[in-house]
Amino acid sequence: MLEIDSVEGGYGSVQILNGVTLKVARGQMVALLGGNGTGKSTLLKAISGLLKPTGGTITFDGQRIDGLRPDLIVRRGLVQVTQGKEAYPAMTVEENLRLGAFVRRDRAGVRRTLDRVFEYFPVLRERRGQLAATLSGGQLQMLCIGRGLMSEPKMILLDEPSAALAPQIVLDIFRIIGRICRDGMTLLMVEQNVRMALLLAEYGYVIKDGVIHIEGPAEALIGDDNVRLSYLGGTVADRDRGLGLH
């Protein structure tokens, strides 16, 4: 569904992506892992169109999308779910969700999708009239995932859904992400919480210095010594704290 072939790019003269290649098949959940400053977010921006790649190709659903304007990529059914802090604070929960459905014209369909989102996240239904500024961190993350689903995309890109959240809330959110995937969504998830991401995803890529460093099926990566040493932490203390990369 999404094929990224030796993509290069960066900001000004600073090149961050040095030829990233990865693939996501239809209906699959793939995790993209890596620490700070490895190029994860830059790659997401390149896919969603906020950053023009300087080399390589990005193909979605059989068509090249690299260099396309971001709103046109959304219209093709590839949506980036932002981190929770990127919800619009001065808008209500419902306005945020309706904004997610901006590209759609069918009112009845939008209402159906809204109901489905409320089914995934009942707390959003309770708070639909509240300003997003009043939500907790976990609720904001739910709002952003819901907002991403509102356009009925074919595939979503998740930007660190666990960022800055308490472990219990991360667990809740990952459970719902798993459900969304089982309901037929294709997902590429960027995560720092490596253990959680690999438990959920089928396949994983580890990015380092702007190239794919290691890749493989999720179970293999969890067992991989390199991944364990670099990202999962070797000590019992780390494991008990449930930390991935820190």
Binding site: D71, Y88, A90, E95, L99, F102, R147
Partner: protein
């Protein structure tokens, strides 16, 4: 007492024109992060284009048509200015959010360019805007000139329209999204460049409306934009810069203060009162009356 009421009515109708210009300046600022110093000239252009439309339509019932025609024409002029000149600059400066000083200088330059263009087309003379409004309406002892009534009604309709557009429509929601964060708006599938044009066009249309509304009271002339720009900035800052309802309230306050000051103290210092008010507000409440956290906009 009657004198006082007369002064307040005059103040309110002039003030609502200030408010309209302040509103459009605030709209450009909150939507595009541009402090637009050429907005007085957009107002001037609106008045002249209104005059042009007026000569086509003629007197009689055409005044709303004149208003609308000028708004549409000036709106498109605004869109063209933004596309041709400002967009290159803002793009080079890292997008609309960090436009900064280059943009300020450019809008000053644009103000001079527009003045000279208007000078070349319409000349230096002050032109009358002879709209026959008919006799003043008398309510009790007060004679209310119809032109003032027109101003207040038209301005309130326009402001309400803008409010409903921003709060109730799908496009208005998108405009607010773009105002708050352009990258995230892109990720919502919003055509951000188009929305930027839309915001700028609407702001220019509102300034043009102000120009057309003030036309029948004052003359239409090339240098009419400077005075109103300063007053409108004062109004916008009094209300809280970037805050849309604040701009309207600020405009009304500036208008009434000016009118009362001119009526009771001295007309010679008419332009001072607005700034006394500005200083007072800034001393008591530096962020303006409605000014809150600058990061929560729209």
């Amino acid at each position: 007492m009657q004198y006082f009421l007369d002064l307040v009515i005059v103040g309110l109708s002039i003030g609502i024109v200030y408010g309209l210009v302040a509103l459009s300046i605030s709209l450009v600022y909150s939507g595009l992060d541009i402090v637009h110093f050429a907005h007085g000239e957009i107002y001037m252009l609106g008045a002249f284009l209104g005059l042009v439309v007026f000569q086509f339509v003629g007197a009689g019932p055409g005044y709303p048509l004149v208003l609308l025609g000028s708004m549409v024409l000036t709106g498109f002029v605004g869109v063209a200015i933004e596309r041709l000149f400002y967009r290159r600059l803002t793009r080079a400066g890292g997008g609309y959010t960090f436009a900064g000083m280059g943009m300020i200088i450019c809008s000053f330059g644009m103000s001079i360019v527009l003045q000279n263009v208007a000078f070349l087309i319409w000349g230096p003379k002050a032109l009358p805007f002879p709209v026959p409004f008919g006799m003043p309406i008398e309510i009790g002892d007060i004679a209310l000139p119809r032109s003032y009534l027109w101003i207040i009604i038209a301005a309130v309709v326009l402001m309400t329209g803008l409010h409903l557009f921003l709060k109730k429509t799908r496009l208005g929601l998108a405009v607010r999204a773009v105002a708050h964060n352009k990258e995230i708006a892109y990720l919502m599938g919003i055509n951000v460049p188009l929305m930027i044009s839309l915001v700028f066009g609407i702001a220019c249309a509102l300034a043009a409306a102000a120009g057309v509304l003030i036309g029948p009271i004052n003359y239409v002339q090339v240098l009419m934009g400077i005075g109103i720009l300063i007053k409108a900035f004062a109004a916008a800052v009094v209300g809280g810069f970037g805050n849309l309802p604040g701009a309207v309230v600020g405009g009304l306050l500036v208008g009434v203060t000016e009118s009362l000051g001119a009526g009771y103290v001295s007309g010679n210092y008419k332009d001072i009162y607005a700034f006394l008010l500005l200083i007072l507000v800034l001393m008591l409440r530096p962020s303006g009356i409605f000014g809150v956290d600058a990061r929560v906009k729209a």
